[in-house]
Symmetry: C2
Subunit: 270 residues, 2 copies
């Protein structure tokens, strides 16, 4: 098992291998083989970046029974929601990505709490996925795992035709802190928990998915070429509300903790 | 005015300047300044690539009064459609992009005609767009224009929760043939036409948009950082149905003609 992070080294993004409280910069990018270069750095002092910038950013959306049922009850638009019967993937935008410890900035004209959704993220490896993949090929294509926070503004989510600002405003997609290789970790048997200012607000078994990563990859590969570095966010069960001034942390056992303070956009000419 | 194309030069993508029937490879990427290198090539012999691979691929969806009204009438799902009242952007996936002259491949299990949607595409320039842009800043941020074909499988579009396979199957997003700089062309005052096997099937004034590019950019920039090379597909009015064996061409005066044959996926073990 290798635990990688991606960090800002004076303006240059670098990958590093994480060992305890120390990080050593490496060559070899996200997929290795890695060769250590430079000194061991204090992990706490780094500016973390999203572990990958995906060619395509996939997101399952509703993928837990409880979350889908609650979403159906609370939906106030004509479109409503239903518990999905098939593995149908959705999309998010790279422009919304941010790293561990960076602020989630609530837009100036958003006056509701933001909803944090803690998600397991599969990262596709260097060979991509063959078209019409088998479940075995789908499993082999998963290079590693990370954590995503699918931050949402529910008022906009209900009112808008698309997820453009409700889910894709700048900084609404924290991802990280690490990219953990798939060889010695099984996050589907771990717990996901959400904590606000350090107090656990919700937790759920990560593996209680309606459709697992292989279901999605097999279905997608019938129509779509999935490439190296693509990410698949697998949905959330429980959520937590946060307001500016608070901090939200998502923990998945074995993958670390993705933490982000919530701040408020200040308009210059306000 | 500069007319650029991007083409496959023995495995390496290159930009070229198009002059009549000839193309000369250039340095300088999409945004220049360009310096010609190498011989003049026959435009007809090139393998065209999408003129840019956008960091984020935006698409307006319903953005013409007539198309939105027809979509509302034909919608058979609970979600329905409505004529949009605000400039709300959507997304498409880079994995679906293909170039001029490359085939649109209908998936093996898709048994309906494909619907071609001819769209004007705005390409954002090297400076990106400032957050909270004015209309003037939005206009200045448009580096150039190209053509997109938002190929859709309507049965899947109606049946699925998302546009994953109805609009984002491999090859469903032809873009090109050129990137035409914005300095001496006004596609909003031009016509868009769709032709099947060379016979015009539909045409409409490109500028009859519900929301123009500046409307979208201004609205998006309140929440989203729009970057160099991002593309904004602006929607279609009329459409045309095509089946394997036919060819679909989209023409916007001043931007050229984007042509693609339609073929059928052949499964190897069929």
């Amino acid at each position: 098992m290798t635990v990688l992070c991606r960090f800002d080294d004076g303006g240059t993004p670098r990958y590093g291998i994480v060992e305890g409280e120390r990080v050593t910069a490496v060559t070899g990018g996200a997929f290795g083989p890695w060769e250590k270069t430079g000194p061991r750095l204090a992990a706490a002092g780094l500016r973390y970046l999203p572990p990958v910038i995906p060619p395509v950013f996939y997101a399952a959306g509703l993928n837990y029974q409880g979350h889908a049922e609650r979403a159906s009850v609370s939906a106030s638009t004509a479109s409503g929601h239903q518990v999905p019967e098939r593995a149908e993937i959705g999309y998010r935008a790279n422009s919304a990505l941010t790293g561990h410890n960076s602020p989630i900035v609530r837009p100036a004209d958003c006056d509701e709490p933001l909803v944090a959704e803690g998600e397991l993220v599969a990262v596709i490896g260097p060979g991509g996925v063959p078209r019409h993949a088998t479940r075995e090929q789908a499993k082999a294509a998963i290079f590693g795992w990370t954590i995503g926070n699918d931050v949402s503004a529910r008022g906009w989510q209900r009112a808008d035709r698309t997820f453009w600002r409700s889910k894709n405003s700048d900084t609404f997609k924290p991802m990280g802190p690490y990219l953990v290789t798939a060889d010695a970790v099984d996050p589907l048997s771990a717990m996901t928990s959400l904590a606000v200012d350090g107090a656990v607000a919700a937790s759920f078994p990560t593996g209680d998915l309606l459709f697992d990563p292989q279901d999605f990859i097999v279905a997608m590969s019938r129509y779509i070429t999935i490439s190296a570095g693509d990410v698949i966010w697998l949905g959330t069960d429980e959520t937590a509300c946060v307001v500016p001034g608070q901090a939200i942390s998502i923990t998945i056992d074995g993958l670390g903790t993705l933490s982000n303070p919530v701040t408020e956009e200040k308009l210059i000419n306000e």
